[in-house]
Amino acid sequence: MAAEYYRLSKDKVAELFERARADYDVVAKTRDANGNLVYGRPVSFDDVAFVDEQPPMSAKAFALPQTETLVRYEQEGDKIRADGSEAPARDVLLFGVNMCDAAAFDIVDRVFKWDYLDDPYLGRRARATQFALACAAVQRDCFCDRISYGEDGVDAVAYELEGAYLVKVRTEKGRALVERYENLFAVEDGDAERSIKTFKEKAGTVKKEPMLESAKPALEKAFEHADWEILASTCIGCGICTYVCPTCHCFDIQDEGGSSRGRRLRTWDHCTGRTFTATAAEQPRDRQYKRYRQRLLHKFWYYPERFGPLLCTGCGRCITYCPVKINIKELVEYFGGLKDTPPGGARHGK
């Protein structure tokens, strides 16, 4: 559908939030017990942080929760009844989500729709509407200006201008949101795309060459590059980079409970972990650098080769929260032939 443009004055945002809570299960940024910014379900607008700051945890959990029951089973006589989890009861509105989180859903949908339809994930995605808030400035370690995704998969996005937000509606769900609260929005008459362009230039989020997609051909020949070992051996193998990442979707399936009552659940897992691919026969990724290499190549070579887009939206969380500050962008540039000096100077041979 053709994009439509509206104006939402800043003082109407609170009212939009309060009214949306009647029709949607509204998710917005708020503060948790330790003062971290998180996507939560604040009850009133005073607790909502309608800001472009990036929460440590992405919005991934609203489509793929960290722990989710797939099957509940119960012994009845000699029969066992097993039933799946219920689809969400209400529509969900992601209110003021970052662009890098909103676009990630569209990228990850492809693997969850590949041949087999993952009903728990897609059930939630079908009922989710994303109302994104564009970043007015580049944050700590972001590099979304080097990744070619734009506003894909975003239903509506608000750009903060003087005194009002310019709201660009891109999908049916986005229009449904605007139509439902028509009186809060005014039709935008000015040249919307130009003001978006100036907004991005001021924010510094205009795409800059070379894009990281161009690293793929060199990455395909860098699997056995000698410097993987020395550059990725500082990786400690924790799960931070994959759990905070909006596009990492790997999970584990486990059972909990007795033989007559319990549940089969799915929970996040991380390829950097020691036992991710360990089998009784062998462990193909026996060294930590091989596990880190898997994560980088899956995002910048394997996934794009299979599904099209990079499995990365450049949000930079995996750099910001990495205990040893390994920088995935620098490593992609080094192994992808876009840079000839390794990050931190570590190198095996000349």
Partner: protein, 168 residues
């Protein structure tokens, strides 16, 4: 879980320890009874409990006994797993310091259990839920007393609610 060491008549008709599913069903008849897992060292406390039985000393039969070679064989992992599997209280009982069949097993156990006790107290777990006792092979009466006190205190403390975790 092996047959409970307590063989007092009062407990006879309840039979052997139920499989963990029946216990998690929790709809045993009558008022709520605390479910206590007891790790008893084979040489002293297990023998003491046996003595209580053969001496026909009546006492509550809420303790499901697990026989271990020595109190230092009890790993904090087992204790926390017992709470996860539905125990309301855990009791570790071994030889008095100095009596250990393995000379200093219970001395090591003491430090380890002190560390666990300090942590469980710190995070706010009801102190009545994790108990340690020294019961020698001749102290059948003391064993019955220990079980009575632990059971009585747990009746006051109430069931240990292990919250179902992380559902969406």
């Amino acid at each position: 879980m092996p047959r409970s060491a307590a063989t007092s008549s009062e407990c006879g008709r309840r039979g052997t320890v139920a499989e963990k599913e029946k216990r998690s069903a929790r709809e045993t008849a009558g008022p709520w009874e605390p479910n206590i897992v007891g790790f008893l060292c084979n040489w002293c406390s297990y023998a003491g409990a046996d003595l209580a039985g053969t001496s026909r000393i009546p006492y509550a039969c809420n303790v499901r006994v697990i026989r271990v070679p020595c109190s230092s064989r009890v790993d904090p992992l087992m204790i926390l797993r017992a709470f996860r599997e539905g125990a309301d209280g855990v009791l570790v009982s071994g030889c008095h310091p100095g009596d250990c069949h393995y000379i200093d097993g219970n001395y090591y156990a003491r430090r380890k259990l002190i560390a666990l006790k300090r942590l469980l107290d710190h995070v706010g777990l009801d102190p009545r839920r994790f108990r340690v006792s020294w019961v020698s092979a001749s102290e059948g009466r003391k064993w019955a007393e220990v079980v009575k006190t632990v059971t009585r205190e747990l009746l006051e403390a109430g069931p240990f609610r292990y919250e179902e975790n992380g559902d969406d």
